[in-house]
Subunit: 417 residues, 2 copies
């Protein structure tokens, strides 16, 4: 077991090695905390406060309704969509921002159904974030499809099996990174397997966008959704996005048609006709203040290659794991050991996980709890250091040694994802 | 025809008479303009900038993810819903805020279908705002209902006729105020007629909430939706709301089930079970910055009775009409003459309406254009005076007299509703 002083030296050396990707000065984080919950709510980018205050004061307050044209509000959903696209590997014109992940996924699944009208089965991972399961089940019930559940690693075999039985699979809906364990699934090969089965691939990027290269275009993904308030740092409940590969846009059916997505929105036509391109996936009027905050936040990625973020993240999570194993006797890390299979978090299983999360917070280490027994340590690489990883692991060890996590004051209230 | 000086004296007298309801100091409006587009984007309430800046700095930035609990983010959709409810006459626990009007209406119509599973027809006004028509048509196609179109005044006769033919009407979907003409429909009697036909009433309150008393509970309305960025001044694209009368909540089916509306959101259960009460109409994670801006904005209604706003509004629109008729030869006002039938706007038909809107804007009078030939003069009573009405009518007359509206520089680009 390495001596703590060795770990400290290693942290310093690693931070030197990765100094070029330390972007903490692009964020406004309070002193004295180690923030390991950026996979729930990303930190505040330094660009946001003044940009948003200006949008309120000079756009809404002064230029009022004219701002829809003069300040580019009308085009914001697709303009900010392109900015998100740069981060997830989508060429311009394929991503639209607005609404929640729930709504985007509902819309996207209906679009998948329209692309595969003769199919009757949708495959998804029972370990998906619950909303995804609810939406998949809901849409399947609406259109009369059956839901087949399978862990992503078993999906190719399931697809083969379904094909042998003559069942037509319409869509495979998976999360790129498991929200609990941090397991990063193999998007390229699962997308290939999906296509081999004649189905449409639908990826949920909530826990990968901004932390892991996604390369939607490169891997031929069909449809995708994601939130923007985790590693994209868009702020609480910032609008989600939908990706529709250019080749599918002409046949994209919008189950939530609003005037914002109409071909001629100001003609006030009585019948719906979708706009050309990705704009046809627009729904209603977007929450502009949240959207402009997101746009400002994405500037934290200016000049940044997500591959470099990923290298830093892999180093941080690997070191965090090493520190935990060195300092916390018997720690049970459930995130994969292999860098290539680990997203940007380290999940630890502990019977008193809820108390551990609370006790860590009391020591300035912000993590979160996932029922029933997981402590998630999310690693948003741009604003964290190897020194932070060591500090977090040290606090973890101190909590357990002191028994802080058993404090009965820590009830069962939960922290939001 | 009254002399302009007489109109000025009358404006001053009316402003004296209505001084108690002049709330302009609750808004941050630029000097030198008459803002008659509050029915598109309400003015900036004075409470918003600092509240929102604080939410960014002290909640998101400093307290980070813990703000979901410590700053009441989690409960905001229903808490702000109750604040909207006070304005539209809904007792607490029946209004939820979040998502766009498009999404809320889609959800609401599906809920109406679930309340009337044996029906097969939905009735709506072909003059509705286009989004409503698209959503009604879309949901009807999904569930196999037929859409019957009828102007609201002819709805009772249509319902009788359908009943005679043995057709079961499931829902009647109407807007309280016509977005073009400003016609205020008789919500109480149309709701009674809807109920007499065994159908569910669905009201779109976009152009009435905050300007006209709605009294949802009093009139036994079943379901309603509305935006918050017009007379509620919530900011660009601020989240919409849905009303579900308490008596229907137990049977409310949420076609857009997300974890936010789950009975035990943090249990991460794989199967959806709606929360008790109005919370079951929650969808995904709401755009918190836009939602908190809305919450701050609603304080402009603190201590305000919407009946008093309405009295001021009726006086303003009546006087605006008088001024237009006095100063603009041949003006064609299409809004109803009768106060009881007029919402909070005065619409004028003019063959060069688009040019008129642009020329008025150049003179500091902000109105908007509705295709093909309508100039809308929206009257958000809390921050407008009778003096403003006279100034607007005077500018209208000056534009026409000078021929400004014929300037070829005014192309055909449109202003957002």
């Amino acid at each position: 077991m390495p001596h703590p002083a060795d770990l400290a030296r290693r942290a310093a050396a690693l931070d030197d090695e990765h100094a070029a990707t330390d972007l903490r000065d692009r964020f406004l984080l309070p002193d004295g905390i180690v923030y390991l919950d950026g996979n729930s709510l990303g930190a505040l980018p330094a660009t946001v406060p003044e940009t948003l205050a200006g949008a309120v004061r000079d756009q809404w307050g002064r230029d009022l309704v004219h701002s829809w044209n003069t300040h580019g509000w009308w085009d914001a959903p697709t303009r900010v969509g392109d900015a998100v696209g740069r981060i997830v590997g989508a060429a311009p014109g394929q991503v639209v921002v607005g609404d929640s992940t729930t709504v985007r996924l509902h819309q996207t699944l209906h679009a998948a159904v329209a692309l595969r009208p003769d199919a009757g089965v949708v495959v998804t991972d029972p370990g998906s974030f619950p909303t995804d399961l609810y939406v998949v089940a809901g849409v399947a019930a609406q259109v009369g499809w059956r839901v087949e559940h399978s862990g992503p690693d078993a999906v190719p075999a399931l697809l083969d099996d379904l094909a042998r039985r003559g069942e037509r699979v319409g869509a495979v809906v998976l999360s790129h990174v498991d929200y609990r364990t941090g397991r990063l699934w193999d998007l390229p090969s699962l997308t290939r397997a999906t296509h081999a089965a004649g189905a449409v691939s639908v990826w949920d990027l909530c826990h990968s966008a901004g932390a892991v290269p996604v390369d939607l275009d490169l891997h031929g993904v069909d449809l995708a959704v994601g939130c923007t308030y985790k590693y994209l740092n868009g702020g609480p409940g910032s609008p989600a996005y939908g990706y529709v590969a250019a080749r599918h846009q002409e046949r994209f059916v919008n189950v939530l048609p609003g005037w914002n997505g109409h071909a001629e929105p100001f003609a006030m036509a009585g019948a719906y006709e979708g706009a050309p391109g990705i704009a046809r996936a627009r729904i209603g009027t977007p929450p502009m203040l949240s959207l402009l905050a997101l746009e400002a936040a994405l500037h934290a990625f200016d000049g940044v290659d997500v591959r470099d973020v990923r290298r830093r993240s892999s180093s941080l999570t690997r070191f965090l794991r090493d520190c935990l194993e060195a300092l916390v006797p018997g720690v049970e890390v459930v995130s994969p050991l292999d860098d290539a299979e680990r997203g940007s978090q380290v999940a630890v299983r502990h019977p008193d996980a809820y108390g551990v999360v609370q006790a860590l917070a009391a020591r300035g280490v912000v993590t979160d709890f996932r029922t029933p027994d997981v402590v998630r340590l999310g690693v948003a690489a741009p604003y964290l250091t190897h020194g932070d990883m060591l500090a977090a692991a040290g606090a973890f060890a101190d909590v357990l040694a002191a028994g802080d996590h058993l404090d009965p004051a820590y009830g069962r209230r939960s922290v939001v994802t």
